[in-house]
């Protein structure tokens, strides 16, 4: 879905950031729906989403020319400074492709070497009609498109062929968890963008927490054990999150 949002574009920092969409002006759907920005220029903000439940079912009914109440940009960005002296491997699973795709395009524009792995359950779930190429790998769980298996299958191979790899991932929690375990095992750094239910996207409800790997557990603390994804995320160092 494309939208014109010059005010949001003005404040954009980069891939990783998202917007929070009021899909229904009535209270039939009480909360906004967060969606990652999948691409942006002055005239166009792009999101890619999957129709799951009531919110996204409402969103698909919007027509060209409709007005949409959106808040944003929200959140932090993938830290591209950390890519220096590393070879980034971008991984997008399912709807997690959105911020990864934006990052991919930004890096392509800057002629920054990287690999891209896109995974989905099945051919029909693939958002992009990307052609696999030398540095782009497509996977499906059922083998109907690209390589049969999960993104892990490709990652395990690719990671060994590269000098100083660094992983950037977004996707379902189960996928991120498997990637995290794998990377910690072989001591490779990475960043990932997380999702959670959100009520406000503004840091005022305290609803969107993820548990952190907190080394010094104190009896009384705030923000050491749980982090607000909308304010401190959605991008985290891969070792910081406890699934």
């Amino acid at each position: 879905m494309e939208m014109l949002a010059p005010n949001i574009y003005e404040e954009l920092q980069g891939p990783g950031q998202f917007i929070n969409i009021l899909v229904d002006e009535s209270w039939n759907i009480p909360l906004r729906r967060p969606m990652s920005i999948a691409g942006a220029n002055r005239d166009q903000l792009t999101i890619i989403y999957k129709v799951l439940g009531r919110g996204t079912k409402r969103l698909v009914t919007k027509l060209r020319g409709d007005f949409l109440n959106i808040l944003g940009p929200i959140g932090n960005i993938f830290n591209q400074d950390k890519f220096n002296n590393h070879h980034p491997i971008l991984i997008g699973g399912g709807i997690g492709i959105a911020p990864i795709l934006w990052l991919h395009n930004v890096m392509k524009g800057g002629s920054f070497q990287h690999e891209l792995i896109i995974g989905a359950k099945s051919k029909s779930d693939h958002f992009l009609k990307h052609q696999p190429s030398r540095k782009i790998y497509l996977t499906t769980d059922d083998g109907t498109l690209g390589i049969k298996g999960t993104v892990m299958r490709v990652l395990q191979q690719v990671v060994n062929q590269l000098y100083e790899p660094m992983i950037v991932a977004c996707g379902p929690a189960e996928m991120l968890k498997v990637i995290q375990t794998f990377l910690i095992d072989i001591n490779i750094p990475g960043q990932m963008a997380l999702e959670s239910y959100m009520a406000c996207g503004l840091g005022i409800c305290q609803g969107c927490v993820v548990e952190l790997t907190h080394s010094h557990q104190e009896k009384h603390s705030f923000g050491e054990k749980f982090s607000l994804i909308c304010r401190d995320g959605p991008v985290y160092d891969i070792s910081r999150v406890r699934f």
Partner: protein, 306 residues
């Protein structure tokens, strides 16, 4: 232009539209988006003595016309609150009320005393005796009239500022608890806090919240709020601040008619943190077009015909 000013316990507020505890952070997070100075008052997130991490996720889930939450009073604790927020509040024109929660009498008292020492620009306290999301504390006081009275009395001795007791609808008789608060010296009652609720994901057969139960808020609870405010305002002679499901000026008027002197907006802030400011303008317009000059003409003006 109607006179929107309201007075509670000797404190005058520019208008009757406040923002509810836990639904506006400490006020600073949204100050770039919203002119918070237009609000009648800001009620802070509940402050406890120590910082609190809160409950594990998931903490929120959408429900018909509302949401359930089990945040668990996550907050920065009174010391950091004083260090970071009191200076910010000094720069505000709107009146700030500090919401206090605790799991013992001492905790409420210790928080109040710390704020009392430094908070010249704090106009009062709202005592949360009604949070459904912590295992111990909060609710223990809020379900017991005598304990509510003792707690209020204890705090009343330590402050001359506005003292509001915030009540839960999850009790057999809310007026009984309110009487305890009044006898203890409360200046006002605010009601309602969230209503205990639960929702289940039928595919996983698990509760949608990690804590199983949560607090229901939003338009879904508005009739419960209206009923409780009406009961309270009929039963006690101190002002009642109405809370629950407010999303429009019409809702504000409805609460005033039920007997509220002022109102607080909660969940609606999550959709639009500027909703309070918009509603103030709409209340003004409503009064103009309906010939009201003062809020007191609306408070308790319910017609009892039947």
């Amino acid at each position: 232009m109607a006179n929107l000013k309201v007075s509670i316990g000797g404190v005058e507020f520019n208008n009757p539209v406040f923002v509810a505890s836990g639904t506006f952070g400490y006020g600073n997070d949204v100050s770039e988006l919203v002119d918070v100075n237009q609000l009648g008052a800001i009620i802070t997130k509940s402050i406890t003595f120590h910082p609190r991490e809160g409950n594990p996720p998931p903490r929120i889930i959408e429900t018909p016309s509302g949401m359930l939450n089990s945040i668990g009073l996550a907050n920065i604790g009174v010391d950091q609150f004083i260090k970071e927020m009191i200076p910010y509040y000094a720069s505000l024109e709107t009146k700030v009320i500090v919401n206090i929660a605790g799991s013992s009498m001492e905790e409420y008292l210790n928080v109040l005393e710390k704020v009392e020492k430094v908070g010249e620009n704090i106009y009062g306290y709202e005592i949360n005796v009604s949070c459904p999301n912590v295992e111990k504390g909060g609710m223990e006081f809020g379900v017991n009239s005598l304990m509510t009275r003792n707690l209020t009395e204890l705090l009343r001795k330590r402050t001359e500022k506005l003292l509001i007791v915030k009540l839960s609808p999850n009790v057999t008789d809310i007026t009984d608890i309110a009487k305890g608060a009044k006898e203890g010296g409360a200046d006002a009652i605010s009601a309602i806090n969230t209503v205990i609720g639960m929702s289940i994901d039928i595919s996983s057969r698990k509760s949608n919240l990690a804590t199983k139960f949560g607090g229901l808020s939003g338009p879904a609870i508005k009739p419960i709020g209206i009923a409780n405010v009406h009961k309270l305002s009929s039963a006690i002679q101190i002002p009642v601040i109405g809370i629950g499901g407010i999303t429009s000026a019409e809702d504000v008027v409805e609460y005033l008619l039920a007997g509220a002197t002022a109102v607080q907006i909660g969940t609606a802030n999550f959709r639009d943190p500027g909703i309070g400011v918009k509603i103030i303008a709409e209340v003004d317009a409503y009064c103009d077009s309906n010939g009201y000059y003062d809020m007191s003409e609306l408070t308790g003006a319910l017609v009892n015909d039947s």
